[in-house]
C-alpha cells in the first residue's frame, strides 16, 4: 500500500459510516471490505433508503454530498451472487470523509429504490446508470436515457454488449453467422 497518498493520513475512508451503521442499524451491513485505505460497505436494497437517510442526516456521518452512483457488471459470477454491483460514493464535508455503499442486484430484477429526493444530484446520476447499465431506479420521476439517444437499444457498459465491430464467422465459430437475436446467450453480442 502506498505511503505518500493523503487519504491514508486521515484514516481509512468510510470507517465512520461503518461504525455508525453497525451501532445504529444492526443487521444493515451485510458485509464490509477494507482495502487500499477505503472501506466498502455492502447493504441490502430493501433497507437502502433507511441506511442512506441515516448517513445523510446523522451528525456523526453527515454525508451531505453524493459524489456519484454507478454500477459494475460481473456476468461471470457464480449464480448465488447477483450480477450487478450498484455503487454509491458519498462525501462528508463536515468530517472530510468518503464512503462507498454497494447494493447487489440480480440480472432478472435490477431494481434499487431511487434516492433523488435525498440528494438532488442523484437525479442525473441515476439516469446515467439506467442508460448505460439498465439498472432500474424505482420511484425516479423521469427515468429515461440521458447520454444516449432515446431510441438506443441495449445498455453499453454491460460486459456482454459488444462495443464495436461485427463478429466474423470462421469455420470454428459458424454460429457467429447467425443473426444477433439467435446467437447463444453466452456469445459476445448474443441474446440481445
Amino acid at each position: 500500500m502506498s505511503e505518500g497518498t493523503a487519504t491514508e493520513a486521515v484514516g481509512a475512508q468510510g470507517e465512520r459510516a461503518l461504525t455508525l451503521l453497525t451501532s445504529e442499524l444492526p443487521g444493515a451491513v451485510l458485509k464490509s471490505e477494507s482495502a487500499f485505505g477505503e472501506v466498502t460497505i455492502y447493504v441490502d436494497a430493501d433497507r437502502l433508503v433507511e441506511i442512506m437517510t441515516l448517513l445523510r442526516e446523522h451528525r456523526d456521518a453527515a454525508y451531505a454530498m453524493a459524489l456519484h452512483v454507478t454500477a459494475v457488471d460481473y456476468p461471470d459470477r457464480e449464480p448465488a451472487i447477483p450480477r450487478f454491483d450498484v455503487v454509491y460514493q458519498l462525501r462528508s464535508l463536515m468530517h472530510n470523509d468518503t464512503c462507498r455503499i454497494v447494493v447487489q442486484v440480480t440480472e432478472e430484477n435490477p431494481t434499487v429504490p431511487s434516492l433523488e429526493t435525498l440528494w438532488a444530484t442523484l437525479d442525473w446520476h441515476e439516469r446515467e446508470t439506467y442508460d448505460l447499465f439498465g439498472i432500474n431506479f424505482e420511484g425516479h420521476h423521469d427515468l429515461q436515457r440521458i447520454l444516449l439517444p432515446t431510441d438506443w437499444q441495449g445498455h453499453p457498459l454491460r460486459k456482454d454488449y459488444v462495443s464495436f465491430g461485427e463478429p466474423v464467422a470462421f469455420t470454428h465459430n459458424l454460429e457467429w453467422a447467425l443473426p444477433a437475436a439467435e446467437r447463444p446467450r453466452d456469445m459476445p453480442g448474443g441474446g440481445r
Binding site: T7, A64, M65, S163
Partner: protein
C-alpha cells in the same frame, strides 16, 4: 381604443409557426399554452460552450423551466478503458475535459498508483503540481475570455487567448503537443522537463500578475459587467451541496471546500495558498472566485518552481517504470522488463479505489475496479461538469433568457467532461 395587454402576457394565441420546411413545423418552437413557449437553445448556440442543448419553457423572456439535453459528445470512454492497458488509458483521459487534460491525467494516474502502491519521487510530484496549476490558469483564462464574450466584452476574449497561448507553449515544449499532452503518466511523467522550461515558467510568473490587473480593470471593475452579473443565477450553499456542485461553483456560494486543502495529494500540503470563497452564490461571486484562483495558482507555481527538488521524476519501481536506456544495453532482465511493460503493461492487485483531485471545474474522481489483470475491469469517471450542470435548471428558474447565458458561463462546463 383597446387596452394594451399586460407586460409578459399574450392575450391572443400566437400564430402557429410557419413551416419553411414541410414536415418540420414543430422542430424549433412549440406553443404550449397562451403564456408559455417552448424554445430550443443549442446545441449549436455559441453561448452554450460546445454542444449543450437547452429546452426552455419561456413566459415572455422569463425562463419557467430549463431542461438540459446532453450526450451529443458521448464517446463511451468508460467502455474504451476496459479494453486498454492502464498506460493506454491516459490519452483517453486527455480527451474528456479537453481544457484541463493534465488534471485528468493526474487523477487517473493517482488512482492507478494507489492500486499499485507506487509513490512518485518529489521532483515528479512538484512538476505535476506546476503543470496542473498552469493548466488551471489556462482553463480559467479560457473561461474568463468566453464568458466575458457571452456578455459582450469582446476585448477580454482576445487578451485571455493571448495569455493562454504562453501556457500552451509550455505544454508543447514538455510533451510535443499543445492540448492532449498525456504528459502525466502512471508512475510519474513522460520525461523530465527540458532546460527551456524554466525560462518559460519564469516568464509566466513575471508577466501574468500585471496582465491580471489589466483584466480586472477591464472587466471586474466595469459597472456594466457588475450590474449584469450580480444577483443572477443565485444558489445557496445547501442547494449547491445538494446538487453535488464542486469547485468554484460551490465555493462561490461560500463553502470553503477545496480538495487541494481538504485531502492534499501530490504534495499540495507543501504549498501556502488561500481558497477564495464567495458570499452570495451569484454569477459575480463565481467570477471573482475564479479570478482570485488564478492568482493563488500563480502563488503555487512560484513556490513549486523555486523549491523544485532535483532527482528522478519517475518511480524507481520497475513493475511500473520503464528501465533506463543504458541499462537495457547491458542487462537482459531490463530488456525483458522493457518488452513486457511495452506489450502487456503492469497488473495491479484486485480491488477498487476512488481517487479525486481538484480540477479547474471541481472534484474530478476516478473509481477504478481492478480484477488483477493488466486492464481495468471498470472505470467510472466522476466528472465535475456533469454534476455542476445538473444544478443549472435550479439556477435558471425565473431568470431572463439573456441572463441564462451568463449563468451557463459561470458554471464553466466542458461538454467533453459532461458527456465523456
Amino acid at each position: 381604443m383597446a387596452a394594451l395587454p399586460p407586460v409578459g402576457k399574450h392575450t391572443a394565441p400566437l400564430d402557429p409557426p410557419q413551416a419553411r420546411v414541410p414536415g418540420l413545423e414543430n422542430v424549433d418552437i412549440v406553443q404550449l399554452d397562451d403564456d408559455t413557449m417552448e424554445l430550443n437553445m443549442g446545441p449549436q448556440h455559441p453561448s452554450t460552450h460546445g454542444v449543450l442543448r437547452l429546452v426552455l419553457d419561456l413566459d415572455g423572456e422569463v425562463v419557467k423551466r430549463c431542461r438540459p439535453d446532453i450526450g451529443f459528445l458521448h464517446t463511451g470512454f468508460e467502455k474504451s478503458f476496459e479494453s486498454h492497458t492502464y498506460q493506454q488509458c491516459i490519452p483517453y483521459t486527455d480527451r474528456m475535459d479537453y481544457l484541463a487534460p493534465l488534471c485528468n491525467n493526474l487523477a487517473f494516474s493517482l488512482a492507478a498508483e494507489r492500486l499499485l502502491g507506487v509513490e512518485v519521487p518529489p521532483r515528479g510530484q512538484y512538476l505535476r503540481v506546476i503543470m496542473c496549476e498552469l493548466t488551471r490558469i489556462a482553463s480559467h483564462l479560457l473561461w474568463f475570455g468566453t464568458s466575458a464574450l457571452d456578455m459582450g466584452a469582446t476585448t477580454a476574449f482576445v487578451y485571455a487567448w493571448r495569455e493562454r497561448e504562453k501556457i500552451l507553449d509550455i505544454n508543447e515544449l514538455v510533451s510535443g503537443v499543445r492540448m492532449h499532452t498525456s504528459f502525466i503518466r502512471v508512475g510519474g511523467l513522460l520525461a523530465d522537463v527540458p532546460d527551456e522550461f524554466y525560462a518559460m515558467v519564469q516568464e509566466v510568473l513575471a508577466t501574468f500578475p500585471r496582465m491580471l490587473d489589466e483584466y480586472e480593470v477591464l472587466v471586474t471593475g466595469n459597472p456594466i459587467f457588475r450590474e449584469r452579473t450580480r444577483n443572477i443565477g443565485v444558489i445557496s450553499a445547501a442547494d449547491a451541496i445538494n446538487y453535488g456542485m464542486t469547485g468554484p461553483s460551490l465555493r462561490g456560494s461560500g463553502v470553503p471546500y477545496d480538495l487541494r486543502k481538504a485531502r492534499p495529494y501530490s504534495s499540495y500540503d507543501h504549498f501556502d495558498f488561500d481558497v477564495p470563497i464567495g458570499e452570495h452564490g451569484d454569477v459575480y461571486d463565481r467570477y471573482l472566485c475564479r479570478m482570485q484562483e488564478i492568482r493563488e495558482s500563480l502563488k503555487i507555481v512560484d513556490q513549486a518552481y523555486n523549491n523544485l527538488p532535483s532527482g528522478p521524476v519517475n518511480t524507481p519501481d520497475r513493475r511500473v517504470a520503464m528501465p533506463p536506456r543504458n541499462e537495457i544495453n547491458t542487462s537482459m532482465e531490463s530488456l525483458i522488463r522493457h518488452f513486457k511493460l511495452s506489450t502487456e503493461g503492469f497488473r495491479p492487485p484486485a480491488g477498487q479505489v476512488y481517487e479525486a483531485i481538484e480540477s479547474p471545474r471541481g472534484e474530478l474522481g476516478f473509481h477504478i475496479v481492478s480484477d488483477g489483470t493488466n486492464r481495468p475491469y471498470r472505470v467510472k469517471v466522476r466528472a465535475p461538469s456533469f454534476s455542476n450542470l445538473a444544478g443549472l435548471p435550479f439556477m435558471a428558474r425565473g431568470e431572463l433568457i439573456a441572463d441564462l447565458v451568463a449563468v451557463i458561463g459561470s458554471i464553466d462546463i466542458v461538454l467533453g467532461d459532461v458527456d465523456r
